[in-house]
């Protein structure tokens, strides 16, 4: 009887170990994979970079603790700060002024249900990054919010707050290409190998 219990125990523990170490079946990537092409990949990224460094994207990915405003990327008036969750501080929470949609009129607060900066523990800074730095940062799950390449594409192509950049309300310039064109360039960058530009690229 005792033997039976010991054998059952060993089998049970063995089973647990097998389950714990079972490798996930390889999922097919949800984005097209093309032949590796460092030149084509970098070329696509450089278009992506131009969009990310445009005011509509960069203003909420600042190097400091304050968001930026306007096409000249000036520091947000009213001393607004990121806060821990990226949604502001105390009486200066983003959604206190920024509604779920753009408020009509020039110089009125733009809006989106998710309005805010990246949180303080995942700052995802665009401002001041070179193309190479930004490409490497975007690909690093420790710096991109834990995103896989497929999730990165999804974020750029479908995220509602990212999409605000193409519907920014009155008086704000648009990024330098359409969102479908942007998403296509992101896909191309990654499909061709997700290469980072050289350190010299500007």
């Amino acid at each position: 009887m005792r033997k039976l219990i010991v054998i059952t125990g060993i089998l049970f523990i063995g089973g647990l170990i097998t389950v714990a170490f079972r490798t996930e079946p390889a999922k097919p990537a949800s984005y097209p994979i093309l032949a590796k092409d460092s030149i084509g990949s970098v070329k696509a990224f450089m278009s992506v970079y131009k969009v990310l460094m445009s005011s509509r994207c960069m203003n909420c990915h600042p190097a400091g603790e304050s968001p930026l405003q306007g096409d000249d990327n000036h520091i947000h008036t009213m001393n607004v700060k990121r806060g821990v969750d990226g949604k502001g501080l105390y009486a200066a929470r983003c959604s206190n002024c920024h509604q779920a949609e753009n408020t009509t009129g020039l110089h009125m607060p733009p809006g989106n249900p998710k309005w805010g900066l990246p949180p303080s523990n995942m700052r995802m800074v665009f401002q001041g990054r070179t193309p190479r730095q930004l490409a490497l940062q975007l690909l690093d799950p420790k710096q991109n919010g834990g995103r896989t390449k497929a999730q990165l594409i999804d974020h750029m192509a479908k995220d509602d707050l990212v999409g605000w950049a193409w519907h920014p309300g009155d008086g704000r310039t648009l990024p330098p290409m359409s969102r479908p064109a942007f998403a296509a360039q992101v896909r191309l960058w990654i499909a061709k190998g997700a290469f980072a530009p050289s350190a010299k690229a500007k």
Partner: protein, 156 residues
């Protein structure tokens, strides 16, 4: 029909859902302590609490407040005795007074979230409320005083 609870009282408002909350508070409900300053969320005079957050009521549509709880300056305390109101009195903060209800509503959120604010915390919380008379130094002093009173009150 939009239903908003203001200072604990339910109000059914039959108006355009895009109407600014400030309009409803002042013109329909009749609470005129909350002021109109800029109409663009630039000055903070119209600050009220929407579910505890210091929103700018001049650009917040009543549709956003539907079914929610709003507190205006009239509802900050039962007898005008919120530590901030007492400190405001003691320090004689207001000059013309126009921005002060917004200042108090913002300061109340700060003190709720940070009972012992530094000058920097006060700047971070209060910079969206501007005062044409320049009472900023007294506002800062009164917030420190209210924080002290709040701490003393907590000991009792």
């Amino acid at each position: 029909m939009i239903t908003i609870t203001v200072n604990g009282q339910r109000h059914d408002i039959n108006g355009d859902p895009n109407m600014p909350l400030l309009w409803a508070i002042r013109d329909i409900i009749g609470l005129t302590g909350t002021k109109y300053g800029c109409g663009a969320a630039q000055c903070g005079a119209c600050t009220v609490h929407l579910n505890g957050e210091a929103v700018r009521s001049c650009i917040t549509k009543i549709s956003r407040a539907d079914g929610q709880h709003v507190v205006t300056i009239e509802g900050l305390s039962a007898n005008n005795d919120h530590p901030l109101q007492q400190a405001w009195n003691e320090v004689n903060v207001p000059q013309c007074g126009y921005c002060q209800s917004g200042q108090l509503m913002s300061a109340a959120v700060l003190l709720r979230e940070n009972p012992n604010p530094t000058d920097q915390d006060i700047d971070d919380a209060m910079s969206g409320n501007i005062c044409r008379c320049g009472t900023y130094q007294r506002i800062r002093a009164a917030i420190h005083k209210a924080a002290d009173m709040q701490r003393e009150g907590a000991k009792i």
